[in-house]
Subunit: 345 residues, 2 copies
DNA sequence: TTGTATGCGTTATCAT
DNA sequence: ATGATAACGCATACAA
């Protein structure tokens, strides 16, 4: 059903119908009501193609994400964002990337400046440098630029959506898998590998969930937990790591981040048979999952997170649909027997 | 870059450019080459909206799937297909469902007749009634109607794509999870619940993969496997099931289908603590996963399968993109700690 | 308050 | 072999 046909039905011109549809006023009450009635009756849906053609708008979305080396975690959201940019290009969606150094607040602040100068139609941001990210949210609100947050959330940020993970539940899940693997007993090591003070919120929540799970289960009271950190800013951190693993010799290890491959490396080299659970099916972890050195990876689809963030803007800006506020992605359990079907979804 | 602009560059009218783009001939060799060169130079991409508007085509896709009661497996693919039909409606994609009784070949044959009479632009089919499905593929090929297969595959069918699961690997994965849960030892029961002779190909492959995994692992040679069937066509099959479970009293049970909830029911009722692994996060299994009665569910995203099948036709028919031939979906591992994020993806 | 005309980019048809 | 033009449905500027 087209506007023209509706106009004919209502005995008015299509201009009048259009004014009613867009609520531009200048229509008498009676005709407005009549047209509204017909519109509802025929369940009028504007022709997507005609609408897109005449509007011919394009939208610039900026993606403010940490830079990365190949194989690292932040490559994944970037991939998803790029793929979505490609798929949605025909609808006028353009994505401009701004990469910052996650260990350097100043670099984030500089990139924020560049983003704001661009006056984009939407911003995708990652709250890795939390304090500055919160400030950015406030500025975007006053500038009336819609934004969405991926990875981890900022409460009451005013974003159109959050797309990410439930980090606490991720930790609980890890605890379930690891404790099952060690037969519900033994010594378990929670090993955090950090390289700055900024983005350990997620690590912290995962550890919390992990411990919570073990403490709440009556049958797992025999498990002994040891919590240790390794700081990548120390020059000898790799030796530290090795010393810890050999010295502690636990039955299971949980690394609440994508850096589990560093541990896997040591286990392989030293031929240590220790159950190992970590996060994120990044390239660096892939071989260790395939070899069974890492027993389980918990993955929250970072690629999909990036993709959905862009797609959400498409829905929000182009099709004017409402978008979900909070979008928690599934916590995928990945192991030697199913990892091969998890790449490039 | 529009056709008009390209025409100006080439000093011809836009009609000529159009003839070159669509290779309709009636263009001199020199001008054709010149235009082709410019087209490549500017990387011309037709405006999606204008194209859609002027073509104004609509496509009818038929979905030939088994009927179901609420909460059963086949509800999932149907849901995905419906969702895709809704999302892609604006692009002229219309889906017509034909539900058949999976225990009655005749009903399938009747529905096939109806499908063919409709002369659809595409067919989505499920090879549950394998023999008849193979015949249908042949007829669709001669009628030049593109079709795609979901769930389980038919070799060399000539489909534009297959979207489904790797059933053997699914069985292997189940074996890994269940054997880990029983501590790598004990008695394990493979329990198939059937109600016809048609669709046990998937069950068979899963069982095969399951046994294969156990036999190939040196450390799992202590595990004793018992294989049993329950036939739902017997009036007293529920009692049979109960007798088996109580009589065998195994350490772990693998039900290679979505019907694992029937076993879970008995375990709950009889308060039996037996490790249980099955397939498909259908509504009927949901409460048992939440309660921890079912330890692991392996799910191959049946909803996504349906969605992708329709989306593939959109790509194939509307945007004329190439589509993937074989599309194996990830084997998701679902358990008490992560099931809540797997519904309505 | 209402109606009309123009254009968006592509396709397809009709003249030349 | 080439060019001109109408049509798709919608949005909008402008005329009445």
């Amino acid at each position: 059903m087209t506007i023209k046909e509706i106009a004919k039905r209502a005995n008015v011109s299509l201009g009048t119908v259009d004014r009613v549809i867009h609520d531009r006023g200048k229509v008498s009450k009676e005709t407005k009501e009549k047209i509204l009635r017909i519109l509802k009756e025929v369940d009028y849906k504007p022709n997507f193609y005609a609408r897109g053609l005449v509007l011919n708008k394009s939208y610039v979305i900026t993606a403010l994400v940490p830079d990365f080396d190949a194989g690292e975690y932040w490559e994944m959201p970037s991939r998803g964002i790029k793929q979505a940019a490609k798929d949605l290009n025909q609808f006028g969606i353009k994505v401009v990337f701004f990469y910052f150094d996650q260990n350097d607040s100043e670099s984030f602040i500089r990139k924020v400046q560049e983003v704001l100068e661009l006056k984009p139609d939407g911003v995708i941001l990652t709250p890795v440098i939390n304090f500055e990210a919160v400030k950015l949210c406030a500025r975007l609100r006053t500038m009336a630029i819609p934004f969405s947050i991926i990875d981890s959330n900022i409460q009451n940020s005013g974003s159109i959506s959050f797309i990410g993970q439930d980090a606490i539940q991720s930790g609980r899940l890890a605890a379930k898998l690891l404790s099952t693997s060690t037969g519900g007993k033994g010594k378990i090591l929670i090993l955090s590998i950090k390289n700055n003070e900024n983005h350990n919120k997620t690590l912290q929540k995962r550890s919390e969930g992990f411990k919570d799970f073990l403490s709440q289960s009556d049958s797992l009271q025999d498990i002994k937990i040891v919590e240790l950190n390794v700081d990548q800013r120390e020059s000898n951190w790799k030796e530290c790591l090795e010393d810890i693993l050999v010295g502690q010799n636990p039955d299971g290890i949980y690394v609440p981040s994508s850096k589990v491959h560093f541990v896997a490396e040591v286990l392989m080299k030293r031929k240590l048979k220790i159950k190992l659970v970590g996060n994120d099916l990044i390239d660096n972890n892939l071989d260790f999952i395939a070899a069974g050195i890492i027993d389980y990876i918990i993955d929250q689809r970072p690629e999909t997170q990036g993709y959905l963030a862009v797609e959400n803007f498409y829905k929000y800006l182009v099709t004017k649909q409402r978008v979900e506020n909070d979008y928690y992605l599934p916590l995928d359990i990945i192991t030697k027997e199913n990892y091969m079907y998890y790449r490039s979804q």
